[in-house]
């Protein structure tokens, strides 16, 4: 599926605007900061995943003093097959429609189109805590296959149940509690092992594309290593049982997939501590582009999420959303990025200079909530 039209009603700073992006290649959104460029990219991410890539909740995406916001997307498949997606956001809930029909489960539209986003905060992938990197892997897996969504939520719910139980017991391990913990340990281990297997597979798949992209962007030959770091050893179930006493005493789980990390090194040194700001930016971008490449090329059997044809019958790559990417990179790296953009639909927002080698198929200007050609 390709995005052929996007309509925004009362979304962020737009009252009613629409745009028709390029079917292939770059759609450039130009304009000063604070005019609404990022909001357009955000709207596309909501159509793809029902979530803002900025992690904003729905009330933040509704224009001031309005009860609801609406994002309409026209998707074009093979032989001009059209699908109309509509996402209606109110502060209480999000509803999704396909061809005018309200979907029973919102998740049913996830995967109609896929999206991978890079935004300025992505420097956090290198600098911030493990939560950001776990989310990077999980978002990446959803961009690869929407089937990962239920796997993640199953684990999150099981982990929440177990954590709540630990909190409730007040530090004392009784026979009754042992029995209840047996059950939740088992659920957390079952759902968590599946989750981690997918994350680890993805790490393996990312190494080659991330190295290739990083070297292309930076012009340097330093090797990037990406490895998943578990917060436990051996089987997850055994580890949970072993840490039970400590978990009960502390009232919070000491280990598990919710405490894992992704170790990223550049030339054998931790990227966080040793790389320059420029290298770190470049690396963060290479990580996102790496996800995009893995998702474009399939490789899903290896992530264990089933054949690619199940969810992307027309084989379209995910939409790539690059927010303010050129202000983050020096001119040489910017030019290298412009020359090595992947195939498919690419949206780029830019406030300042763009490299001369960037040849947008469609260029739009965004100014105070208006979109003009």
């Amino acid at each position: 599926m390709r995005l052929s039209r996007l309509v925004l009603d009362e979304f962020r700073n737009f009252s009613h605007e629409e745009l028709s992006p390029a079917r292939e290649g770059v759609t450039l959104l130009r304009g000063a900061n604070g005019q609404g460029k990022t909001n357009i990219l955000e709207a596309i991410s909501v159509v793809a995943t029902l979530e803002s890539f900025r992690g904003a909740d729905s009330s933040a995406m509704i224009r001031q003093f309005q009860p609801s916001a609406r994002i309409g997307a026209e998707l074009l498949g093979e032989r001009d097959h059209l699908v109309d997606i509509e996402v209606v956001l109110t502060s209480a809930r999000t509803r999704a429609f396909r061809n005018g029909n309200l979907l029973k489960r919102n998740g049913d539209i996830v995967g109609e189109i896929r999206a991978v986003a890079f935004f300025p905060d992505d420097l956090d992938l290198i600098k911030a805590g493990p939560a950001v990197r776990r989310r990077f892997l999980d978002d990446g897996l959803i961009a690869i296959s929407p089937r990962f969504g239920p796997i993640r939520s199953a684990f999150e719910r099981a982990a929440r149940q177990r954590a709540r139980l630990l909190k409730q017991v007040g530090g004392h391990l009784t026979n009754d509690l042992e029995l209840a913990l047996d059950v939740w340990d088992d659920r957390v281990a079952d759902t968590g092992s599946r989750l981690v297997a997918h994350r680890e597979n993805l790490c393996g798949l990312l190494i080659e594309p991330v190295n290739d992209i990083y070297q292309r962007l930076s012009g340097e030959s330093g090797t990037v290593s990406i490895s998943y770091t578990r917060s436990w050893e051996g089987e997850l179930l055994d580890a949970l049982v072993q840490s039970r006493r400590e978990d009960v005493r502390a009232g919070i789980p000491q280990l598990g997939p919710q405490r894992d990390d992704l170790a990223i090194c550049l030339a054998n040194r931790p990227a966080r501590s040793c790389s320059s700001q420029g290298e770190q930016r470049c690396l963060a971008l290479a990580l996102r582009l790496g996800i995009h490449r893995v998702a474009s090329e399939g490789g899903l059997d290896t992530v264990g999420l089933g054949p690619r044809s199940d969810f992307a019958p027309n084989g379209d790559p995910p939409i790539l959303l690059l927010d303010d990417v050129f202000s983050e990179l020096d001119p040489i790296r910017s030019a290298a990025l412009a020359e090595s953009l992947p195939a498919g639909q690419v949206f780029i927002s830019a406030a300042g200079e763009i490299p001369s080698s960037l040849k947008p198929a469609v260029a739009l200007t965004v100014s105070s909530g208006r979109i003009d050609r």
Partner: protein, 201 residues
């Protein structure tokens, strides 16, 4: 803002407390009841009243019942050695409809879910334990919903009951994961029941 007359507002408030009914639907239903022939609305009021007054809980299996003992428990033709554990009376009805089950039931009235503050003591697990010996129960079929809490509850019961020499089985998968028993068609549910397996773990 003009307020509704007190009795109208009260009716709307009560309606909006019902599951699945938002404030707008509550308003619509309330005004519908005030508009239809008086007799029709009073019939609803009487039905609610009757149900509340006459229906209690079966003291054996916690099914809804019109007396101390429900229709299933008082049926002498049922096999007392097999008990099917369900989350609520709606699931009991769904299993009855398959025509595949001739044993008795045990209605848990919920599933274990720490997030909702529901532990083993809040579901009727101990009451099931107490039924085993006096009733000579040999097999317990756990037919909780195939979602996280339903599976956890099934496993809890297996660990609780197995040491007492009872065979604990689980209805076969094949029901959609995360799906609800009460919405499964009779054929699928019947097959899940026939294809039950002993719970391990």
């Amino acid at each position: 803002m003009a307020a509704y007359a007190e009795p109208v507002q009260q009716l709307i408030d009560e309606m909006s407390r019902l599951p699945g009914i938002g404030p707008k639907s509550a308003q619509r239903i309330a005004f519908h009841l005030l508009k239809v022939p008086r007799e029709e609305a009073l019939r609803l009021a009487r039905a609610v009243n009757e149900a509340i007054e006459r229906i209690t809980m079966c003291r054996t299996c916690f099914n809804v019942s019109e007396g101390d003992v429900c229709v299933v428990c008082s049926d002498s033709g049922r096999d007392r050695t097999v008990v099917c554990v369900v989350e609520d009376p709606k699931d009991l009805v769904a299993i009855e409809r398959t025509g595949e089950f001739r044993g008795t039931y045990h209605v848990l009235q919920g599933v274990i879910s720490p997030i909702d503050g529901i532990g083993p003591d809040q579901v009727r697990a101990r009451e099931l334990l107490a039924r085993l010996e006096p009733e000579g129960i040999a097999e317990v079929i756990v037919a909780t919903n195939p979602n996280l809490e339903g599976e956890a509850t099934a496993m809890y019961l297996a660990r609780l009951l197995r040491p007492l020499g009872v065979v604990v089985t689980r209805i076969a998968s094949g029901l959609p994961v995360g799906g609800d028993l009460e919405y499964a068609d009779e054929l699928t549910l019947g097959r899940a029941l026939v294809g039950r397996r002993e719970l391990s773990g």
